[in-house]
Symmetry: C2
């Protein structure tokens, strides 16, 4: 039986000293010139591998976004697999950002594809719109293999509110309803690790800190995966709202602000991998400091 | 400029005479014995190609479910691409059942991967949880290329209600809220074809016919993709609720009840492709008759 996902993640955070994750979202147009040789799949793969090399040991986790690979069909998915494997070999926790979700029989196929097998990610993001029976195959597979899932609760994008703020007669919002379901599904004893956290976590956007504090109360056993820092506009203090008083319970993701740091005039003339390493370190320090100050 | 998706779909339905779609959901364990030679990816590909051969000319559309291919990683996705290409060559409308959804920048990558390019499906299913800005790249790409999208509104699985029936102070349910957003987004003049239907459609499960009638009112310009017939428990009459009075406006999907028909004792001794052809024809006749009777 593999060690529990939450325990592995917390240990990795403890080793590095900061609860952060770097998103691997490679868009060909934005890559360093030296990688743009016309073979787009080879270039995004090289960029993904370069990010892994630059951040290993500096951050506990990476989050490859499969969409940027899937844009190139099966050849791109093969590149995604190589980046996931390299990240695991480098000792990083890998969160596959795939946001899959479907009815139970179909969700089983997704769970097999994305959580099973030697080179599968340690965790994936999933969409909870199908409810409990659609989540069950992901939950069961994660529980059986020491893996984790993060269910979309509150997303970080501008139009999220128009959908997710839909409220019932007593003012409860839809994303809070989803959060209650996640808390309930994730509270089963078999899903809880030695750390007290569940292998069923939640995605909670950093761009709404007041809501994050409320969701922290609804989901005491969930680790929050927090997107929205940097390019999407959230500050380190905004992100701190997703943590418990003891400074645990969340991992903050930054993608564009770290991986495209070489475009920042501040880093002019520096090797692109070195800029990513530097930006990742700065990001980790920024979050560490805010979490400390908010304890 | 390619012909509008809704117009192409309606023309294909008209040629065949029944608004049905066969789902391609190949699970290795359930395949005909003669295909189970140990190479699972080759077997599901052969089964997918066999379904295409069996149903071409008998139904207007097929819906390959990418999860059953993605279970095998990039090699499985390559098989999915071959099945999609074969279906298009056979003159079928192809609806890629991928249920993707993310923030705008990421959704753009998904839209490129699943709707652009010579061999991309004619339409895909998408998840609307991110709201308008997450849908926009899919809508824009569909509009520009004569493709379509079907946004998840009401799913056909047992636990859908616990999530999607969440209601506001006046009793409006969450899936109706999503339906209103889909109707609004899809009503833009540039998205409407000569048939009066939008390239932005909706997924509406057949297992809840009363709700389908209400959703038909909320979304007059949407074509409904209706899963749930057969293995999931909905009858042809249940499905008829998703159509307009003139008998247009929906396409009913059946997957397991058609593609695994060879396991039905009724068809014992018949070649597996012939059983699929026979079951597809029976399904098409069943839906045609119910839609006629409900006009």
């Amino acid at each position: 039986m593999a060690e529990h996902f939450a325990d592995r993640l917390l240990a990795a955070i403890g080793r590095v000293g900061s609860p952060v994750c770097v998103g691997i979202d490679p868009a060909y147009d934005r890559l360093p010139d030296e990688l743009k040789n016309g073979d787009e799949v080879a270039a995004i793969e090289a960029f993904g591998l370069g990010i892994v090399e630059a951040v290993a040991g500096r951050v506990p986790a990476v989050k490859p976004q499969i969409a940027y690979f899937e844009r190139y069909g099966s050849a791109g998915v093969a590149a995604y697999e190589k980046v996931v494997t390299a990240a695991q070999k480098a000792g990083l926790i890998v969160i596959g950002d795939v946001k899959r979700g479907d009815i139970g029989s179909t969700a089983s196929a997704y769970a097999d594809g994305h959580l099973l097998g030697e080179n599968a990610p340690d965790a994936i993001t999933v969409n909870g719109y199908f409810g409990a029976d659609g989540l069950k195959p992901f939950v069961d597979t994660a529980a059986d293999t020491g893996k984790g899932i993060f269910v979309l609760v509150r997303t970080s994008n501008p139009s999220a509110a128009a959908i997710q703020d839909f409220a019932d007669a007593v003012g409860k919002k839809f994303y809070e309803h989803i959060a209650e379901q996640v808390a309930k599904i994730g509270s089963d004893e078999r899903l809880i690790g030695g750390s007290g956290y569940s292998c069923v976590g939640a995605v909670v956007g950093a761009t709404y800190p007041d809501e994050a504090r409320r969701l922290r109360e609804i989901m005491p056993q969930q680790i929050f995966l927090v997107p929205g820092y940097g390019a999407q506009g959230a500050s380190a203090d905004d992100c701190a709202a997703s943590f418990k008083a003891d400074g645990t319970g969340a991992i903050v993701n930054a993608s564009r602000s770290v991986i495209y740091a070489f475009q920042n005039p501040e880093y002019a003339g520096m090797d692109w991998k070195k800029t990513i390493e530097t930006a990742a370190k700065k990001f980790a320090d920024d979050i560490r400091q805010s979490v400390e100050e908010n304890r």
